[in-house]
């Protein structure tokens, strides 16, 4: 059966939400739709299906779907985490007036990502890609009364639409070169012409933009202005994962195009910039947003050296702990009413909240037996042969462990007031229970490390081998050092205040890169505007040449002359100049 049927429950839920006049039942419809999709997932068997959308001049434009183990994994993540996110939203989005719009947009977002995950060719991929951009734009700007949210949404849509158009260009070129757009035929055909290289370059632009890789990373951290459930979803399984997913699916093509070194370089710079961001930021969500950028960089890094299994497993494992941590951030914000790490306290007031968040932090840092350990271990062992690379990866691990425990310890300080404590204790169950599920998943997902090699038919990584054991020990030691350092550093109150001041004062060399990227965007915009001004000047000139040409009006009626003189004459002049240039062009051609 064509897996497009998986979209039906979501579309039906959207219709139900839209029809729900006062929005009281919108959330139930949304959750039921998503859960139903998850329940129906096993019905989607492996295989490829094609549906002709339209055909033009003998070329059929086909909507191809394909279910492979990889896409099945993503479908599962999208539906499972999507359902948890929707459940979490029950408590987080508690204003009745925003229910209908929120759940409609969330369902659209989920449906777009589902369509993306099942796409087996570029047409469906492009459509889903575009609708992902749009629905994320609506969700990032969801609180359109807040200036920051509107600015962030605009930045996101502008940057992300660039990726869409780059993708469209690539799609058109692929269709020209291969005569088909299904991944399997394109992968089989390989790369042989310059046009294909150009198409791959455009695809690379699309991918790094969508996945917020350097130099396009800045839209993602600004996108934190959206509601927290959106952030949790956007960072764990949807949207940003789309870019790296395309890389994983089409990796042989990137390899054939000789783009692996470029991927490696982009990933390495992204990781450095992102880590600098995590260490500098105060805003609770922005820290873990930069951390997502880093993780996407790591997936790309593994892919760029051909460590496919490590990349896929990281992709899988990251979804659980990252959505968990965003839920945690949402809880802290809801309970304390603050977004600044240095003013948030009292995470420990509710044990359930504290320990689930701790699970997420331990997993992200990479402690055994959480899935984050295996994810990091996979990446590290891909670089085990190269000592310098291995050292750098370990340094990144150390920093990761440090920043996530900084993030955790700052929140876990003694509650500043009784109100904060009751805030945490008063969190609705819909916000805490999904966290418990995800916390359990961070351990359960470790099992996948041993199952995936068989499922995907890939070479796994053995823990028992000598190098594997060493790597595991080294990694544990590294993350432990990072964690201990953070704990020591951020438990004393005086220290905390001091570092707050220091952190905001001195930008390091790498954080300058992040700011420079923003500056580059600004310069680029200024450049385009300058060119535009040139054209506008031309337009103005037409109007201001009015006085000069006004005397030679071709018309005699005095009223007509007054009105028509000037600009019309210059229009005539431009018409004539255009005509002359055209004549010259024809002669030359």
């Amino acid at each position: 059966m064509d897996p497009l049927f998986l979209l039906l429950p979501l579309l039906a839920a959207m219709a139900a939400v839209a029809a729900d006049r006062n929005g009281a039942r919108a959330r139930y419809y949304a959750l039921i739709g998503s859960a139903l999709g998850l329940a129906m997932l096993p019905l989607a068997g492996f295989g490829t299906h094609s549906l002709t959308w339209f055909s033009v001049g003998g070329t059929a434009i086909q909507i191809t779907t394909s279910i492979t183990p990889l896409s099945f994994m993503l479908l599962f993540l999208v539906l499972a985490i999507g359902s948890l996110v929707l459940a979490y939203s029950f408590g987080f989005m508690d204003l009745p007036s925003e229910q209908r719009r929120f759940y409609t947009e969330m369902l659209a977002f989920e449906a777009a990502m589902l369509a993306f995950a099942m796409s087996g060719g570029f047409i469906l991929l492009f459509i889903a890609w575009e609708f992902l951009s749009l629905s994320s734009y609506l969700l990032i700007g969801f609180w359109h009364g807040r200036e920051k949210a509107v600015a962030a949404a605009r930045k996101a849509i502008t940057i992300v639409l660039i990726s869409d158009i780059a993708l469209l260009a690539a799609v058109v070129m692929f269709l020209n070169v291969y005569g088909t757009l299904s991944f399997s035929s394109i992968l089989a055909a390989g790369i042989s012409s310059n046009l294909q290289l150009a198409a791959m370059a455009l695809l690379l632009i699309a991918v790094i933009t969508k996945s917020a890789q350097f130099p396009m990373q800045e839209w993602l951290t600004d996108a934190m202005a959206g509601p927290t459930p959106v952030s949790a979803y956007l960072h764990s399984t949807t949207m940003v994962k789309a870019g790296v997913f395309v890389v994983l699916v089409l990796l042989p093509l990137f390899s054939a195009a000789g783009m692996m070194p470029a991927l490696l370089a982009i990933a390495a710079v992204t990781i450095a910039v992102a880590i600098a961001g995590t260490l500098r930021e105060h805003q609770i969500k922005r820290v873990i947003a930069y951390s997502t950028v880093e993780e996407l960089g790591l997936i790309l890094l593994a892919a760029s050296v051909g460590a496919v299994f490590a990349a896929i497993y990281f992709f899988f494992a990251q979804s659980f702990y990252k959505s968990l941590l965003f839920f945690g951030a949402g809880n802290s914000m809801k309970a304390t009413g603050s977004e600044d790490l240095y003013t948030i306290t009292g995470l420990g007031s509710s044990r359930l909240v504290k320990y689930t968040v701790l699970f997420g932090a331990l997993s992200l840092a990479g402690f055994i037996p959480f899935d984050g350990f295996f994810a990091n271990f996979g990446i590290a062992s891909a670089f085990a042969a190269n000592l310098a690379a291995y050292a750098l990866i370990s340094a990144a691990s150390l920093a990761t462990s440090f920043y996530i425990f900084r993030w955790f310890m700052l929140q876990d300080r003694k509650p500043a007031s009784a109100a904060v404590a009751t805030g945490f204790l008063g969190l609705p169950r819909s916000m805490t229970y999904p966290m418990a599920v995800l916390a359990a998943a961070t351990i359960a997902a470790s099992g996948a490390f041993f199952v995936f090699p068989n499922v995907f038919g890939l070479q796994g990584i053995s823990l028992q081998s000598y190098a594997g054991a060493i790597a595991a020990v080294v990694e544990t030691a590294v993350v432990a050092v990072g964690a201990v350092a953070a704990v020591l550093f951020y438990t004393r109150k005086a220290r905390v205040n001091k570092t707050a001041a220091v952190a905001s004062a001195a930008p390091t060399r790498i954080t300058i890169v992040a700011e420079a990227t923003n500056a580059i965007y600004a310069h680029l915009a200024a450049f385009v505007e300058a060119v535009a001004r040139g054209f506008a000047f031309f337009d103005d000139w037409l109007i201001s040449a009015y006085d000069v040409a006004g005397h030679v009006s071709v018309l005699t009626g005095s009223r007509l002359r007054r009105i028509a003189s000037g600009s019309v004459n210059t229009y005539v002049l431009v018409f004539a100049i255009g005509l002359a240039l055209l004549a010259i062009a024809v002669v030359v051609v």
Partner: protein
């Protein structure tokens, strides 16, 4: 054959009926009369399409898939604008009569079998249009005068081109011209004259002034319908007369690129919504011209789809602008918080604008996709890349309007929308989405129109 006569009889009924009714009757009767007759004509063109449009030749008129494609488009466009004008026009009676006259001119261009029909048709369209602009707004004298002078210039240039062609080949019927200096200059003159009619840079520089200076419903007519007549003429002349002179099409490509850049870059700086859409429509004309520059059947098919798409997008967007204008909100700030004032209008305008960028499942995507694809397939990837760069630029100004609509504002209240605007927006939206989701019939129509044109040109 019967259908052909029925068609012509209906057009005659429309013209004479409107002109007579204007003297005698009420606005309401006038509206229903012209709407019903236009609907009948639309049905007849569709029927003619369906029965094959077997290229019957009636003297200077030819009923073929190409002409029927445009006849259908013009009828639908005027039908929509007529509805809009009923709600907005200061002097609806005169508008309807003039629109009927202009439409008969458009049909002459669409069904042209020789340059004479094109010439007379453009004349017959331009003159009433000038007066329609004049009547559309209190202070539209300037816009009307500008339009008149430029249209006169364009017609004069066209006649010069025809003189040259007649001198070179001894006929004014559509027939491939031979290589030669005279023909080269005729080509240039045709491109300039019809380039004005189709809003091609640099022959279009007055357009934004005219668009801004007219009532918004009239802007919908000019940008949505009149400019498409320019393309109908341009396509016929370029393909039927000059397709064998492939080298000259490089000039068309240059103009296409210049038009796209001009429209998009200047649009970036606009603050008036009508002016912004004017420049955006210039850039869209650039995309359409890109398909023509490819100079093969696939490219022209793409252009035809894009022409279809843009007509409904522009008329739809302009009807919302006309509605805003009637509330005294004609600049971009006028869209501020539109989502709060009227959700349906905000969503419709978003879809129109996004479709202009090329959102999938809307007609705008299909047109752009086919044009870019044909360019790449013909080894003109550079043109596709330039087109795509332009799409990127256009995002910036469309995003400005989009963001403004969804920005919350203090105060604001539900603003009701009149039935006519609602109907027009609804139809445009439905067609945009319908043929975006299921493009096959549209692609098929455009394909048969363009293959007819190339078969006739060969």
């Amino acid at each position: 054959m019967l259908l052909d006569y029925a068609f012509m009889a209906s057009v005659a009924a429309l013209v004479f009926g409107s002109v007579t009714l204007r003297l005698a009757s009420s606005k309401r009767a006038m509206f229903w009369f012209s709407s019903v007759v236009l609907a009948v004509i639309l049905a007849l063109t569709l029927l003619l399409q369906y029965t094959g449009g077997s290229a019957t030749s009636m003297g200077i008129l030819s009923f073929n898939p190409f002409s029927l494609f445009f006849a259908m488009l013009f009828t639908a466009g005027v039908l929509l604008v007529n509805t809009l004008a009923y709600a907005r026009a200061r002097d609806y009676g005169n508008f309807a009569a003039l629109a009927a006259l202009a439409l008969s001119g458009m049909y002459l261009v669409a069904f042209a079998n020789s340059l004479v029909s094109v010439f007379i048709g453009l004349e017959l369209m331009s003159l009433p249009s000038v007066f329609m602009v004049l009547l559309s707004k209190r202070d539209s004298m300037e816009a009307a005068t500008k339009l008149f002078i430029m249209a006169a210039l364009s017609i004069a240039t066209l006649s010069m081109a025809m003189v040259l062609i007649y001198g070179a080949s001894g006929t004014l019927s559509f027939q491939q011209a031979n290589e030669g200096a005279l023909v080269g200059f005729a080509f240039v003159l045709f491109v300039a004259a019809l380039g004005f009619e189709a809003s091609v840079f640099p022959f279009n520089v007055l357009l934004p002034d005219v668009y801004q200076g007219s009532g918004a419903y009239m802007t919908a007519m000019l940008g949505g319908v009149n400019k498409k007549v320019g393309f109908a003429a341009l396509l016929q002349v370029l393909i039927l007369l000059f397709i064998t002179l492939k080298a000259d099409f490089a000039v068309v490509a240059i103009l296409a690129v210049a038009t796209m850049f001009y429209g998009n870059l200047v649009a970036l700086l606009q603050t008036d919504l009508k002016r912004l859409l004017a420049y955006s429509s210039i850039s869209q004309a650039g995309y359409i011209l890109l398909g023509i520059a490819v100079a093969n059947q696939a490219g022209v098919s793409g252009s035809l789809v894009q022409i279809f798409a843009h007509m409904f997008l522009f008329v739809g967007a302009m009807s919302i602008v006309a509605w805003l204008e009637s509330k005294g909100r004609s600049d971009i700030d006028g869209t501020l918080g539109l989502y709060k004032d009227n959700r349906l209008m905000a969503i419709a305008l978003s879809i129109f604008l996004l479709s202009m960028v090329g959102l999938p499942f809307t007609t705008g995507f299909v047109g752009k996709f086919l044009i870019f694809l044909s360019a790449v397939n013909s080894g003109l990837a550079i043109l596709a890349i330039l087109g795509i760069i332009n799409s990127v630029i256009s995002i910036f100004y469309y995003a400005k309007v989009l963001t403004s609509m969804y920005t919350a504002k203090v105060g604001g209240y539900r603003i009701r929308v009149d039935a006519q605007t609602l109907a027009v927006v609804g139809v445009c939206l439905a067609l945009t989405v319908l043929f975006g989701v299921y493009p096959q019939p549209l692609v098929h129509l455009a394909g048969s129109a363009s293959s007819y044109l190339f078969a006739a040109g060969a």
